[in-house]
Subunit: 314 residues, 2 copies
């Protein structure tokens, strides 16, 4: 999500979440603690965490790892995750720089699952890009890999957390880590063969996190702006949500690397770092909501329910 | 989701999930077990479970607990859950029968969260319906309450499972159970006061399950058909996804109880029972996918990733 005044986070703005109502300086019940006056050191709301964040809590997008998917409706900004998929990221750069995606289309929109684009006819040349790639479904979990671990239990992974702004799972036993299929994550479609994904067909998660896909396919990045341009596309009526008629395809005007776009035309965004005390405070603000609307704090947060804030560069 | 030939379930149709490919009679690796030939008694795929289901594995919708939300784009079918919210269900029936919703509008569409409708002006009379209701956020978890418990860990509830076709959480310690905020669940908006929800403002989950809302608000039912008519609505650009201008509202032509609609005009659907061996087999087919596309079975399924199949009455 993007942090702007027009698009505040949920339930932290003083406006109603589900109906009218106003924020009052009530005495808050803190789970496992004692009643605190609002003036005391209660945990902060997410907006309070964001407002108190320092410039060093944020990082700019790397233009070499930022894609612009240009649709008639606007621009979708995708951050690639080369730490997890160096070969896929390089192949996608080659595809983009060869103009592979320009004029192709979104061909699938399956409710509560994915939107997907690529070459409907499968005839376009991949240019300098490879047709197959090693799977890159997991990486070695070494001390060199940033991993901010959540204390919360995760059913799909022995460990769950964040690495350089991406949601990840990990297994200390096998020493593997992997990107997690949360809302907005982007992956490289493949056929049954594990090396058949090459980045020429990409999908974005638009529904409840399909975590069963983790470790089965290469996630390559995350939508950091423009998600609503994809999530609201009409659902395809063919099997698996594929559009049945070419006239239903949603044209892709172009895909560009930010590095290849003049600086003045770039989307100047920054993403909250996920290895800071500020991020930890943000997670806690969402684990146990502090605004007056909530009566029963969850005491837990699921990996894919943690927002990774994005904002325009100040 | 609705089970039709035009809308098969994911990954169980012999068609590609993410790109081309075909199903082969490969030797399957079974987690924790030995290699099985496809001809042997391997666990079934979801489509196999569905195809083998008996008429007694399904139940028809009760017309007194079925709402038709009529939009210009079509009909959304909602099943109410009176076992969990008898007072809310009764109030919603009173609102519907008083024509309360007719001519009102969808006023909110927040990406990855909810779509919500009601009276934008807040001036319409509630008629015979109550303006406030007891919270009904939880119910007593007694032996009388059907509860098919999942063995899988759930971070948001000590126990998770299904009750009469709805996803639920439960706590054996407090002997409480509650409906869970999964994709497609419908709830009654409220203000900060816990008794301020009355069913006049309803929301539907359109994103990753916001389980932190569980026990904080009354869920009243689930969309069983037409979800895509809600999930694809343009997102509102105001705070919390509210539409900023009246011309952006999505008109509600009418809301009707199925019982008040001539039989010939009803949506004749049935929902899979969630208290049968067939449903248990379906859950397992999704917990550890059996089609050749999947290489690493998840070994786990999250409550909100379990599909509760809906199909036209045969």
């Amino acid at each position: 999500m993007t942090v702007t005044k027009r698009e505040p986070f949920l339930g932290t703005t003083g406006r109603r979440e589900f109906g009218g109502g106003c924020l009052l300086a009530l005495v808050l019940a803190v789970p496992g603690g004692h009643a605190l006056g609002a003036e005391e050191a209660r945990p902060r709301t997410m907006n309070e965490v964001l407002e108190a964040s320092k410039p060093s809590d944020w990082r700019q997008l790397d233009p070499e790892n930022t894609l612009y998917l240009q649709l008639e409706a606007g621009r979708v900004v995708i951050e690639l995750a080369p730490d997890f998929v160096p070969l896929h990221a390089a192949n996608i750069r080659a595809l983009v720089r060869g103009g592979y995606f320009d004029g192709l289309a979104i061909i699938r929109s399956q409710d509560n699952f994915v939107v997907q684009w690529g070459d409907p006819d499968g005839k376009r040349s991949l240019g300098k890009a490879s047709a197959t790639l090693p799977p890159e479904f997991t990486v070695a979990w070494t001390p060199a890999l940033p991993f901010t671990r959540l204390p919360d239990v995760d059913g799909y992974a022995p460990a769950a957390g964040f690495s350089n702004g991406f949601p990840v799972g990990g297994d200390p036993a096998t020493k593997q880590a992997w990107l997690a299929h949360c809302y907005g994550m982007v992956g490289a479609g493949r056929s049954n063969e594990v090396d058949s994904g090459n980045g020429a067909e990409l999908y974005v998660v638009i529904g409840n996190a399909p975590r069963q896909l983790d470790r089965n396919i290469a996630l390559v990045g995350r939508v950091v702006q423009g998600m609503e341009l994809l999530s609201t596309l009409p659902r395809g009526t063919g099997p698996l949500g594929f559009y049945e008629k070419p006239e239903q395809y949603v044209p892709i005007q172009a895909v560009r690397l930010a590095a290849d776009v003049p600086a003045a035309e770039r989307s100047r965004l920054e993403v909250m770092r996920t290895d800071t005390p500020t991020f930890e405070a943000l997670v806690e603000s969402r684990r146990n909501r502090q605004d007056d609307w909530y009566k029963v704090p969850a005491g837990h947060i699921e990996l894919c329910n943690v927002p990774i804030p994005v904002r325009p560069q100040p």
